[in-house]
């Protein structure tokens, strides 16, 4: 078991000007499940491969525990890439499928059996150990593949989009299994995904990257409640947060027909570059339906309603005077606002509903830098 530390770790590909990973500083605790997440090209896979020894580190260093592994060969780093190879061998028993790498390494037979049995216990595979893989279900085969990594008892597990080539059903199943298994084993794990739902449901902490730069690292709750900037705000959460740029008049952000009062402390942080504008963020679930004319209320015209049974979401457009000046965006695209509504009383298409942001659930960002102000 070990911690993992990226210390100003940088990867610059030959012939490019911008680093693929730029001065990454990240400390992962012993036993922690850390998820690297971000859109494609953000540097998440490169960061993982730097830790694996597959990418050169052009600046800074990487430590596993106290050991500087920056220039250590992959196989000498005491890490395991899980799921790199999960084709099962048909003639070998489940136990041999799990333990063959130890056999190659010359581990004594008894020791192999012991480790395989321990892993099987955790993976719920004990009764299958002496059977052939053909007797296993798809999910059990996945677990044998995990067993291969577990028996090696590495310091760190690395997983690079391990679920991307599974079908949807198996993906959700395996996601839960990996997360609970990791907690039982307590092995430090670094996991890469582009899927923020996967990140939120699996990670102890999440590190969001964009353009090679670490945007924010924190617990799923941190990321959701206090995103550090506009990018993280829009990336984490489903459906995504509504974000709109508004002008400030007399300490209020003008939203359509209504005013949203801003904290004076927030306003004090504005700089001339902000040109007296802020980006206001509010999640679909932070909006309450209210009466026309209520303080802070603004009108939204309903375009479509998505009913999910337990939830319903209105996809609509901000209307009223000044609405056209607001630069609005959300997960549904530019100009769209998403509102969660009571699934038992859903407004009709074309109707106008009045909503207001629930007290304390607005996020204020600098319009110049995108950084959080509130």
């Amino acid at each position: 078991m070990a911690t993992v530390t990226y210390d100003h770790a940088t990867r610059l590909y030959p012939g490019t000007e911008r680093p693929a990973v730029d001065q990454l500083n990240l400390h992962i605790e012993d036993g922690e499940f850390l998820v690297l997440v971000g859109p494609s090209g953000c540097g998440k896979s490169t960061s993982l491969r730097m830790l694996a020894g597959l990418e050169d580190v052009n600046g800074g260093a990487i430590y596993i525990g106290d050991r500087d592994v920056t220039d250590v060969q992959p196989k000498d780093r005491d890490i395991a890439m899980v799921f790199q190879n999960y084709a099962l061998y048909p003639h070998m028993s489940v136990a041999d499928n799990m333990g063959f790498a130890l056999k190659i390494a010359g581990t004594p037979k008894q020791e192999i059996r012991k480790r395989v049995e321990e892993a099987a216990e955790i993976l719920d595979l004990t009764e299958y150990l002496d059977r052939k893989p053909k007797a296993l279900s798809g999910g059990q085969r996945q677990r044998v593949a995990m067993g291969r990594a577990i028996v090696r008892q590495p310091q760190v597990f690395l997983m690079d989009e391990p679920l991307s080539n599974l079908d949807a059903k198996l993906r959700v199943q395996t996601r839960t299994q990996i997360a609970s298994l990791q907690r039982r084993l307590g092995v430090t794990t670094v996991y890469v995904t582009h899927d923020q739902t996967e990140a939120l449901t699996m990670g102890d902490r999440i590190a969001v990257l964009k353009d090679g730069l670490l945007q924010q690292v924190g617990t799923p709750r941190d990321m959701y409640d206090t995103p550090a900037n506009v990018f993280v705000a829009g990336f984490i959460g489903s459906p995504a947060m509504n974000l709109a740029t508004f002008e400030i008049t007399d300490g209020h952000a003008r939203v359509g027909q209504a005013d949203v009062k801003l904290d004076p402390e927030v306003i004090a942080k504005l700089t001339p570059e902000d040109k007296n504008h802020v980006v206001l963020g509010f999640r679909p679930e932070a909006l309450d339906q209210t009466d026309e004319g209520a303080p802070g209320a603004f009108p939204v015209e309903v375009n479509i309603v998505e009913e999910l049974g337990s939830d319903a979401f209105v996809y609509g457009t901000l209307t009223g005077p000044a609405a056209s000046e607001a630069i609005v965006s959300s997960g549904a695209g530019a100009g769209q606002i998403i509102v969660r509504v009571n699934p038992r009383s859903v407004p009709g298409k074309g109707a106008t509903i009045w909503v207001k942001i629930r007290e304390g659930q607005q996020h204020v960002f600098s319009s110049a830098t995108g950084e959080r102000l509130s």
């Binding site: 590909y13 030959p14 012939g15 694996a52 020894g53 597959l54 990418e55 050169d56 060969q73 992959p74 196989k75 790199q84 190879n85 999960y86 084709a87 099962l88 061998y89 048909p90 003639h91 070998m92 028993s93 041999d96 063959f100 790498a101 056999k103 190659i104 052939k132 053909k134 991307s164 080539n165 599974l166 079908d167 949807a168």
Partner: protein, 414 residues
């Protein structure tokens, strides 16, 4: 109603007739060319389509597109790999349930999966020859900047290449193309290849399909040795004093001997010009096959080309035509020796092997019976003897998808 999306470079309308609304695992036997035998993490099936065999793999949509694109790039880079045919998405079954996307590749004619090659019925050194072929493939991939991520015998197909094999990449799912590879990436690939090969051999051994004498770990280690040897020969810098300039030519010749052409060689001298340092920068595989193609138009594999070129050389010497233009001699050799020999083989037996491999084996057979007879047996006689005594008993390798002799299908009744 299905709304199939087909992405393909030249779509074959016959593709539409396949039962896309059925999960691949349930496809009826009459559609399948034969049952697939490789070890794969996905469902793979072979299907006869418009006179060829295609391989169909069920796989996630984004991964399918990615692998399709990678395989196309590898083709452009002239790396021996399977030909991508297309990706089909939007499959649904009779109840409207979504089915997995598929990636379609063309099955390599005359290619052999390792499970059909590694068995007691084959010469014991088959193992090492396959490993050598895989080492060459891995070096070639690494030279072009391709990181494989899952090197194994299962992800490779083999074609006979004179007395050796040449290896083709079949599965690029975990791969990535880079400008150049880091030593870490290369080492990781090689180390994983070693582990996978040993695992695959242990599996054959567990199924009692491998000669007991075979040492799985030693074979795995051989890959590492062969890879390092070849990589160093192709990329190492060497330094020598200025007076030894012949060593530049010698280095190029040695690389040609290994089957590589030197596209770019970096030569640096120190300030006072007493020592020279050379390092190959760009090397291309296929030195002999390119030369043969230029001379005769025959497009064959490297070692087959080497064998054919040797025969062409002896033809030239025997006819005392060393001073004639090489192209003219090659033209005469092609029609009077090569084609004449192939045509002397009965048509129904000819398709068992590729023509170049057939010719190579006939030359081998001639050497063998000449030694027995204590005299030079003429080529037409050797051909007749080869057909009667060897070829008739050979399995048809045009599309051999079968199991190793005696192997039970491990996926059966699944």
């Amino acid at each position: 109603m299905q709304n199939l999306q087909i992405t393909a470079s030249s779509p074959d309308p016959a593709l539409l007739d396949l039962p896309w609304s059925i999960p691949l695992i349930e496809w009826p036997d009459e559609v399948l060319a034969a049952l697939p035998r490789g070890i794969s993490r996905h469902i793979v099936r072979f299907v006869r389509l418009s006179g060829r065999v295609i391989a169909i793999k069920e796989i996630g949509e984004s991964v399918a597109y990615r692998e399709f694109e990678l395989l196309r790039q590898l083709r452009k880079l002239d790396v021996p790999s399977v030909v991508p045919v297309g990706v089909i998405t939007g499959r649904t079954d009779a109840n409207g349930e979504r089915l997995e996307a598929v990636l379609i590749t063309e099955h390599l004619q005359f290619s052999l999966p390792y499970r059909a090659l590694y068995s007691q019925s084959l010469r014991p050194d088959t193992a090492t020859r396959l490993i050598d072929a895989l080492a060459v493939l891995l070096v070639r991939l690494h030279l072009t900047g391709f990181y494989w991520g899952d090197v194994s015998l299962s992800n490779t197909l083999f074609r006979r290449d004179a007395e050796t094999f040449s290896a083709y990449l079949v599965d690029a799912e975990t791969g990535d193309l880079h400008r150049t590879l880091t030593p870490g990436q290369r080492n990781y690939d090689v180390d994983l290849a070693r582990t996978n090969i040993i695992g695959e051999l242990m599996d054959l051994s567990a199924g009692e399909l491998l000669d007991e004498e075979v040492d799985e770990v030693a074979i795995g280690d051989r890959l590492v040795e062969r890879y390092d040897e070849l990589w160093n020969a192709l990329t190492d810098a060497e330094s020598f004093v200025d007076a030894e300039r012949w060593r530049v030519a010698a280095r190029i010749e040695r690389l040609n001997e290994l089957g590589f052409d030197v596209g770019e060689l970096e030569i640096t001298t120190d300030i006072d010009g007493t020592s020279v340092r050379i390092q190959p920068k760009v090397v291309d595989a296929g030195h002999h096959s390119r030369r043969l193609l230029r001379l005769t138009g025959l497009d064959v594999q490297e070692n087959q080309a080497r064998r054919l070129l040797n025969d062409l050389d002896s033809f030239r010497a025997a006819a005392e035509r060393q001073n004639d233009d090489e192209e003219f001699v090659a033209h005469d050799w092609l029609s009077s020796v090569f084609e004449a020999t192939i045509q002397a083989v009965p048509r129904n037996l000819r398709r068992k092997l590729e023509p170049a491999q057939l010719f190579h084996e006939i030359l081998d057979h001639r050497w063998y019976i000449s030694e027995q007879a204590g005299r030079d047996v003429p080529l037409p006689d050797a051909t007749a003897s080869y057909v009667e005594n060897v070829l008739r008993n050979r399995p048809d390798e045009k599309s051999l998808l079968g199991l190793a002799p005696g192997e039970k299908d491990p996926d059966e009744d699944q």
